[in-house]
């Protein structure tokens, strides 16, 4: 009897130790809700590598690709099948919040998962061809205000997607009316949209700074504004922000994670802190510079609120343009 008792004591002791500081043991899974090669896949793989490098996980971090419905399949999978998994992270970005806001994951909403944190961002830009008459964002927005149909935008997302929304965010901040009548042409990706702008078929390009780097370097594309709070670091520091031109528009495409809502509270805390620690590390900074990610990291306790706010903003915008009823 005594032996058994001491055993259970031992177990209780072990339990209380683990309760003090939960740490993942064994394999950690990171779901990239898309095929290999995209942004979400990158988020999972590079974070997994750095976590292993820093010794923050004892086992390995395995990336699973679960494509479908722009992340909807993975979102549904997390909620319905893995809702109390302590060792599961799912890559997310502004694309995820956009789809949640536009109710494209049927019957699901942002409150059904725990938002862990963001580790960098890619910022939105509005650009024109080198030989365009528009010299700055105000020129362009004045034209939009005078006649909403006069400036045609091209971007790499679907109608109502993030690239389209960035145009609307900027136009709204500039005080333009009748947002739904601003023409937006959706292409399969930013590259295709840029060729059309450079070829002179469409007036302006909306996208992220990372996809435009090639054409900015070659001089074919003139960036009118970056939708960031401050000027971007490095070679992008020449590009003015929308804010300094008097148009208060922000468009960060953040990269981060969510995890199952019913996971252990200690586990959630562990992962929130882990992302904080990872973000501060030199190893992660090296990954960011290598891949053109720009610093973006809301404080741990504010990230959940940030996501909620972004979803609400996108929902309002989507209603205004009639995408949601």
């Amino acid at each position: 009897m005594k032996f058994k008792q001491s055993l259970s004591l031992l177990a209780a002791a072990a339990f209380s130790v683990s309760a003090m500081a939960w740490e993942p043991s064994g394999r950690v899974e990171c779901i990239a809700p898309a095929d290999p090669g995209g942004g979400w896949d990158f988020t999972c793989r590079s974070v997994g590598n750095v976590l292993e490098e820093l010794g923050m996980v004892t086992g390995s971090v395995q990336t699973t690709n679960m494509a479908g419905a722009g992340g909807g399949v993975a979102f549904a999978h997390t909620i319905s099948k893995r809702n109390s998994d302590d060792k599961l992270l799912v890559a997310a970005s502004t694309a995820t919040t956009t789809r949640l806001a536009q109710q494209q994951f049927p019957g699901m909403n942002a409150g059904m998962v725990k938002w862990v944190g963001a580790l960098g961002a890619d910022y939105g830009i509005i650009a024109v061809s080198q030989d365009s008459d528009y010299e700055n964002l105000n020129d362009l927005m004045d034209a939009v205000k005078a006649d909403p149909r006069s400036v045609k935008f091209a971007g790499g997302s679907a109608n109502g997607g993030w690239d389209h929304l960035k145009v609307l965010i900027a136009a709204k901040a500039a005080g333009a009316g009748s947002l739904p009548s601003i023409p937006y042409l959706s292409y399969n990706n930013g590259g295709e949209a840029m060729t059309q702008v450079i070829g002179g078929h469409v007036d302006a390009f909306t996208g992220d700074i990372s996809e435009a780097t090639g054409f900015i370097d070659s001089g074919d594309l003139r960036v009118l504004a970056v939708l960031a709070e401050d000027r971007l670091p490095g070679k992008f520091s020449e590009i003015p922000t929308a804010r300094e031109q008097g148009i208060d528009a922000l468009g960060p495409n953040w990269r981060g994670f969510y995890m199952p809502a019913d996971a252990d509270d200690e586990a959630k805390e562990y992962w929130v802190n882990a992302i904080d620690e990872l973000y501060a590390s030199d190893e992660w900074k090296a990954v960011m510079t290598r891949n053109g990610l720009i610093p973006f990291h809301p404080p741990a306790d504010e990230f959940e609120a940030f996501v909620t706010q972004q979803v609400a903003d996108i929902e309002t915008l989507s209603r205004e343009i009639g995408l949601l009823r």
Partner: protein, 508 residues
């Protein structure tokens, strides 16, 4: 000169040990697939797509593997034409005419060697043409706006039946089916879901790789099970090779003409390799007139179509790489692969994915050389493979298909879906419905719809924009011709082809 530099960089990509191995494997497998009657190049490439995913290859390696398979299949088609009088694939049809008589006269080895040399030269001419023409066309592609693209896609659909197509109505039905399948999923110009019925897996549309593998590979297996063609074919004796330099010289002019003609035929959308080999053969017959003994086993009658179809196979890559409009069925399958690797064909590809484009082109050059080497000394191996019962080959194909598709998305839903496409493909083949137009419909339908929508947004709803530029008008004219010509010329051409084959049968 800039081109030369890019080409050198391409060689650097293609000559890495892995990529060289893949090119060799692809060339070998491609020849094999081409040699097996019934398995054409489009099927061959479709069957090996899952292999590229199973191996987890990076994009340039995957494309090198598949283009080598493509080039190999063009070589392989001739083997069964010559030895069995059954074309291994459609473009090799014309090779039967003089190849089989040669084999019957005990000159099988010579016919195989001559056709390999002709294939090599044809392939080389085609690839050189591709190197010269593609970058020029790629820069030109910047002038294509939505209206021009729309006209181009109409042109692609109009010429789809091709001049050698059998039943235009069935082609139209098949293409329509493809376009219908492509409407499933999010409509990017309105952001709304179409035909998804709340099934999350359908939200991003139906993956064409899955459809291709199902339609081609799985249906092949089903057909096999039905036919139970378990027995191999009787082995054909190939004698010792007696080929003099004089013989090789004698086919050179024929080969050059065939290669160039084939390349031109390949560049035209929709025409493809079958037309390439047909016109090279008929032209050669005209040029040589009484001097040739065509149909009785003339070496030049073997060289001309082989140079033609290999030239055409490279030519067909030109519109595919520069404009995203495939020049033939097989390039349509390659296009699907490119898109699923997240690479957009077109002018951008030549700058942003230069390593892939030039790696593939360099691999084509290397592949041609490898194929020549493979096809002269090792021809015995391929002849033996022709007699391997398919019961050993097809289970392998099936396994690769399942593993490959699963490794793309890790979704069992996709596997069920692929099997469903396989069953559909089986039924369609029973109805003698061509499968390639389905794939083209799936690939080009959304693009056509998108560009029409964009043109309308730009012009504020004025349909005049569609024929607003000289380029667009030119494309509409060619599209019109492509639609009408098959009805005028098609029957004549087909009649001649059939007669040519009949004459041959009589002369047996």
């Amino acid at each position: 000169m800039e081109t030369l530099q890019f080409l050198m960089e391409g060689f650097a990509v293609a000559l890495t040990p892995t990529n060289l191995m893949l090119a060799l494997c692809g060339a070998f497998l491609g020849t094999l697939i081409g040699a097996l009657p019934g398995l054409g190049p489009a099927n061959g490439v479709a069957i090996l797509i899952p292999l590229a995913f199973t191996l987890g290859l990076p994009p340039e390696s995957a494309m090198i593997l598949l283009t080598s398979v493509y080039a190999g299949a063009m070589y392989g088609g001739r083997i069964s034409s010559i030895l069995l009088n059954i074309p291994g694939d459609e473009p090799a049809m014309m090779t039967c005419l003089d190849g089989y008589p040669m084999a019957k006269n005990g000159k099988a080895a010579e016919a195989l060697a001559v056709s390999a040399i002709a294939s090599f030269i044809g392939g080389l001419i085609g690839t050189l043409g591709l190197i010269l023409l593609a970058p020029v066309l790629a820069r030109f592609a910047l002038t294509f706006g939505p209206a021009e693209y729309f006209a181009l896609f109409v042109l692609a659909f109009a010429t789809l039946g091709g001049i050698t197509g059998k039943n235009p109505m069935k082609t139209v039905v098949a293409a329509t089916l493809g376009i219908m399948i492509s409407t499933v999923g999010i409509d990017i110009s309105t952001g709304t879901q179409r035909y998804t019925f709340g099934v999350l897996e359908l939200y991003e549309g139906i993956d064409f790789i899955l459809a291709i593998v199902g339609l081609f590979a799985i249906s092949e297996l089903l057909l096999f099970i039905e036919e139970r063609a378990g027995k191999g074919r009787a082995l054909i004796q190939v004698g010792k090779l007696k080929l003099s330099m004089k013989d090789i010289y004698s086919i050179l002019p024929t080969t050059f003409r065939g290669g160039i003609l084939g390349f031109v035929a390949g560049v035209l959308p929709g025409a493809g390799a079958s037309l390439g080999s047909f016109i090279s053969y008929t032209l050669e017959k005209k040029v040589l007139g009484k001097k040739g003994r065509f149909g009785e086993g003339d070496m030049r009658g073997v060289a001309a179509p082989e140079a033609g179809n290999n030239g055409a196979s490279s030519g067909a890559l030109v519109p595919m790489l520069t404009l995203g409009v495939p020049g033939s069925g097989t390039t349509a399958v390659l296009l699907a692969m490119l898109i699923s690797l997240n690479i957009t064909p077109g002018p951008l590809m030549f700058t942003q994915n230069a390593d892939i484009v030039w790696g593939v082109i360099a691999a084509l050059l290397i592949g041609n050389l490898l194929l020549l080497v493979l096809n002269i000394p090792m021809i015995g191996v391929f002849v033996k493979v022709l007699s391997v019962p398919p019961m050993y080959l097809l289970p392998m194909v099936t396994m690769i298909a399942f593993v490959g598709i699963y490794s793309i998305s890790h979704s069992t839903f996709d596997l069920y879906f692929m099997v469903a496409f396989g069953v559909a493909g089986y039924i369609l083949r029973k109805l003698e419905m061509p499968l390639v137009p389905i794939i083209l419909g799936m690939l080009l339908g959304p693009e056509m719809e998108k560009n029409l929508g964009h043109a309308m947004i730009i012009s504020d709803g004025d349909w005049g924009i569609l024929w607003g530029t000289p380029l667009a008008v030119g494309l509409w004219l060619v599209a019109g011709l492509g639609l009408i010509l098959p009805y005028l010329i098609g029957p004549i051409l087909r009649h001649r082809m059939r007669n040519a084959i009949k004459e041959d049968a009589v002369s047996d």
